[in-house]
Symmetry: C2
Subunit: 332 residues, 2 copies
């Protein structure tokens, strides 16, 4: 187990939780199989083995271990969380008509939209079976509520993304749906399955919630200021796709009539021409909205770190602390 200081926090977590994560990966492989419908493992293997960071299941194992849990259910819940995540990715790709995910062609491109919709449904149902196996009604309640928040957030994003009336509170709700709800459920169920005191369970929820929000705000900011080599995305993709994210929402809130007409044309009506992205970036610079967005991301990362104070003194707690820093470090 290599835990040298040069490692990134999520790598350190992965090394610390290596045994548990191996069990999670094995469980994922077993449960995504389908005796009768070979299309299912084809599609899921493409996604699951594309090798994301497995951040969400690690958060569940980390929370459970930090709270002293030694049983088998944490692995089930970690796999549950990854299945939910993978299912939402499959459905997102249909909704966004994406051609690439993690640098590879998406399932809906390789197979078809049908496969993405139905295999996503299959993974949801598998996640549901896994969580029922824990026998914890409280865990089921948390994950049912997280699922509803995720689904509602996705629908909200679809209708709010190009609507200039979308304000920071709606944005926050979308962000909770698309990212933070699963992060906070992942950490919270880890504490619940460990039988941690209420104060710690709440702290774990708050950590996941704030970490997820910081993570998503950072992502949205990097879309405008990122290094395309590092992020794998082109600067301004969200603008071109007419997605209202925090840097633009802050600029719209302060816009003159003329600027508002610009945002209406480019985002609401989607009539973009050469030079529009540059002008959008000028307006964001004029009101300092990239800096303000960075401040917000840092604020949420700090909130995540503060939440950890209620948790037991444990090496994993420090890793989660550093993870919150790391999420925003790419901005600073």
């Amino acid at each position: 187990m290599d835990t040298s200081l040069a490692q990134k926090p999520h790598e350190l977590l992965a090394a610390t939780l290596a045994d548990g994560m191996a069990a999670v990966n094995e469980l994922i492989r077993t449960r995504m199989a389908s005796e009768h419908a070979p299309r299912i493992p084809e599609v899921t293997a493409h996604l699951v083995e594309a090798g994301g960071k497995r951040l969400r299941p690690m958060l569940t194992l980390a929370a459970a271990q930090m709270c002293g849990y030694q049983g088998e259910h944490a692995v089930r819940l970690a796999a549950t969380v990854e299945f939910i995540h993978t299912a939402t990715l499959l459905h997102d790709d249909v909704v966004d008509e994406s051609a690439q995910r993690r640098g590879r062609p998406t399932a809906n491109l390789l197979w078809d939209n049908k496969s993405s919709v139905l295999v996503g449904d299959y993974l949801f149902s598998r996640s549901f079976q896994l969580m029922v196996e824990t026998g914890s009604l409280r865990v089921l309640d948390i994950l049912a509520n997280a699922s509803a928040t995720i689904a509602e957030g996705e629908v909200l994003q679809m209708t709010a993304a190009t609507d200039l009336k979308t304000d920071e509170s709606v944005y926050l709700q979308v962000v909770r749906g698309k990212t933070a709800a699963l992060f906070s459920a992942a950490t919270e169920v880890g504490g619940v399955i460990a039988g941690a005191p209420e104060e710690q369970v709440k702290a774990l929820f708050d950590y996941g919630d704030a970490l997820g929000i910081a993570f998503q705000i950072a992502d949205d900011l990097l879309d405008y200021q990122g290094d395309s080599k590092a992020t794998g995305k082109n600067v301004g993709d969200d603008f071109r796709e007419r997605k209202l994210t925090l840097p633009v929402i802050k600029a719209v809130a302060q816009a003159t009539d003329e600027e508002r007409a610009f945002w209406t044309r480019t985002i609401e009506k989607g009539r973009q021409t050469d030079g529009d992205l540059e002008h959008a970036l000028e307006l964001m610079a004029k009101y300092g909205t990239l800096d303000a967005t960075r401040d917000d991301a840092n604020g949420w990362a700090n909130k995540a770190k503060q939440s950890l104070q209620a948790l037991p003194d444990h090496p994993i707690r420090q890793m989660l602390h550093d993870l919150a820093d790391y999420v925003v470090a790419r901005l600073n």
Copy 2:
């Protein structure tokens, strides 16, 4: 409460369960609302208020009432079952690229595929919250397993529908996925929530399973022999859409080499020309597969009726008996 003999069995059930069904409808209306995403109630109202027969939630209420249940959870479970059904309809319409459902334009035509996928996900998550509220792990286990059977069956159908290797056992599995799994879960959870003895719970499962299979086989048969005015479908839609259903599967199993080449061309390769449907019907007549399919449907309806013997003597039991007859009566 009008319960005259001229009523159809599902109408008689609806009249008998009128109070419970009113509560189910009210719960559905309440729970499909979303404070923040108005697209959700728009889409669901379109579907939910299109007014299907509400057969599945009626089965849950009927099972619970027949087993003496008087509590509030049956209404929750009935709404759960209807939400799952509606969610699968939304996703099916995306998968089938359907333009009509129950004689009205589908949601994916009125809005878009995105709305159908995401609102379907929302309804699944709402159903999940509702079932957790019953606090019954056994109910959750049943519904989780039914969800997995449904999703697996849908994927299987997608890959098996045009594959001539699809035999009657694969067909049965697809039918359980697309129809019978939710019927049997609907009746079984009614018995479980009522605390019925195991023998009765099993009988309720068997009834729902056999009724659902009879229902789906009848549907598939009517596609070839139905009166298009009565069914609202054109004769041979499944053939044109290259869906292998029981009448064709039975004909393929007995096909000469020349006939097999015909099925390969029309179903597997989808190269259909004028007169192909007529020739397909001739081949089905040659081997008597429509009659054999009708016998199968009647056999499942009989199995459903036999299952009822283990259940308490109750007016609803007779209605369920007549419902099994009614499902196949349109064939005979």
